[in-house]
Symmetry: C2
Subunit: 321 residues, 2 copies
């Protein structure tokens, strides 16, 4: 089986590629060739292998996606795009990277004519408030940002291309992914990971919102598992509504901190400093909180049961256990 | 006030233009210039006037929309596009006319920088089954056709462009428009108008589905009123969710026929011949039936109260009373 990953150099992309390299299969289907695409070059040494091909280019440029279809990949993980902050500050880039990139890819798939499974990483940003306490799977998608708008548009395309048999799509709406590895970033949502990741390595972290803020989390490891599970699902079992809200662990920030204390002790938790940030707080109040995710659970998507497990996954995957 | 109508040669476009020409204003704002655009030339004699300019071109061609923005129209009615049947049979044309046309128009509006009111004619085709008995305003939009997909995508763009202050959009989701003037067409929905229009002029019409099929109808006259009302609404009163399901008269086909008998007598109704068409029936079962349309009603959109009124509107507008 030939597998293509777009956005392979991103956070989720790198973790997916590592897992594909390690397992050398998706389910019981062996991977015979792996195409990795991104706008930036991947670190080749970590993925050197006879069956891996690295491609550097911009999917929003006409002709780029067609090159990737020459070998007709059986499974395509479409992760490429810019993040929400960038889509909001750079209007044209957001539409170009997130909408045109996907549309040109789908068009190239149509032209290639082999109807591969396409797993698209969508986001809970497709939802806009006001929200009910628990967001049902069929909650309407009226996003409050350009990033969510672009995801909604690609979700719609994915359904239509699938309905017409041009590709076999599954969109997965990722919840908040934590604990994000790497340096603290300035994304408004950064604190959700910062308050765990930084204290675990002895550094201070700032909590800019009240402790009763609720978010739904899944680990990066779970995000990769979602993608791999989506690649193997029977399309008929999903039905025509191909975009699925993923499950996660819904906890308050206070519960995240309690979990951290259970896993790493009081001294670690003492490194979290509360410093209210009105700008972040005003954004956070518009974020979706809890999801029903019943369809995804029924289709076999699994994730952590507790935030403790999410912290332990981070310690195992990023801090050597 | 300068007004632009795209798709001005279409059924709704022509009726809107006639009303604008007659009233010479939208609400209390006088129309000083009227730009009429379509891919096909309009019949100039019927709209000859010093302040009317006719433009022929394709909005899906780069540069076309920019020409229409030179004079910075204050209100834009974006009606251009291909109909559902055509969007389904011609995949590329559907996306080009219905999605790219709107996107290029919105982009040109952004470039012009004057943030006009944009009234977009969307459709209840944004909804896909299975449906509840009454479709609420916040029902999720997962269409079952390419036309509905394109409308969903443009609705999302309209909201995002509005949120960013690049234009001031209102999307109106039109219900089934009846009684459609003109010749019987082969659209699957054609019978909904055919069974009224044809018998009224002494011709036979075929009813291809059971009499208990329910649809929500508004007259072409109401569709024009919706557009004009949308042009005058206070954006703040609408809020960020700018796409509104329009009200209509929800009746069974049997009730349509009973109304026809009340208005035109038994002999007229006798011209309807029941001849089941399995292909049409299978499509009709997936169509949305009743709508709540509470937001639209609260915002002052009004339509007929009974199907009798819809028939009488047709007789007045198309058959000289």
């Amino acid at each position: 089986m030939r597998v293509l990953v777009t956005g392979a150099a991103g956070m989720i992309g790198r973790k997916l590629v590592a897992r594909l390299m390690q397992e050398e299969a998706i389910g019981d289907r062996a991977i015979t060739a792996l195409d990795l695409h991104d706008v930036v070059p991947l670190e080749q040494e970590s993925i050197a292998s006879a069956h891996v091909a690295i491609h550097v280019g911009d999917l929003s440029e006409p002709g780029e996606a067609a090159k990737l279809m020459r070998e007709k990949p059986d499974v395509i993980f479409h992760l490429a795009g810019v993040v929400s902050g960038e889509a909001e500050t750079n209007f044209a880039l957001g539409y170009s990277a997130n909408l045109d990139g996907a549309r040109l890819l789908f068009h190239a798939i149509h032209e290639a004519g082999h109807c591969p499974r396409v797993v698209f990483s969508s986001s809970i940003a497709v939802f806009g408030g006001p929200f009910p306490d628990v967001i049902p799977d069929d909650f309407h998608t009226v996003p409050l940002g350009s990033y969510g708008t672009q995801k909604v548009m690609v979700e719609a395309l994915l359904v239509d291309y699938t309905r017409r048999g041009l590709l076999d799509g599954v969109g997965i709406r990722l919840p908040s992914i934590s604990v994000r590895p790497g340096k603290p970033n300035k994304a408004a949502s950064g604190f959700l990971s910062n308050i765990i990741r930084e204290p675990l390595v002895g550094r201070e972290a700032i909590l800019p919102v009240p402790r009763d803020v609720v978010q739904t989390h899944a680990s990066p490891r779970s995000a990769v598992s979602f993608l791999l599970h989506a690649a193997q699902l029977d399309g008929a079992a999903i039905g025509p509504r191909r975009n699925l809200s993923m499950p996660g662990v819904a906890v308050t920030v206070g519960e995240q901190i309690e979990a951290l204390e259970r896993v790493a002790g009081k001294e670690t938790v003492a490194l979290i400093r509360e410093e209210h940030d009105e700008a972040i707080w005003s954004l956070v109040q518009n974020w979706p909180t809890r999801f029903e995710a019943r369809r995804a659970r029924d289709l076999g998507f699994v994730t952590e049961q507790t935030y403790d497990e999410i912290i332990k996954a981070h310690i195992e995957d990023e801090l050597g256990g």
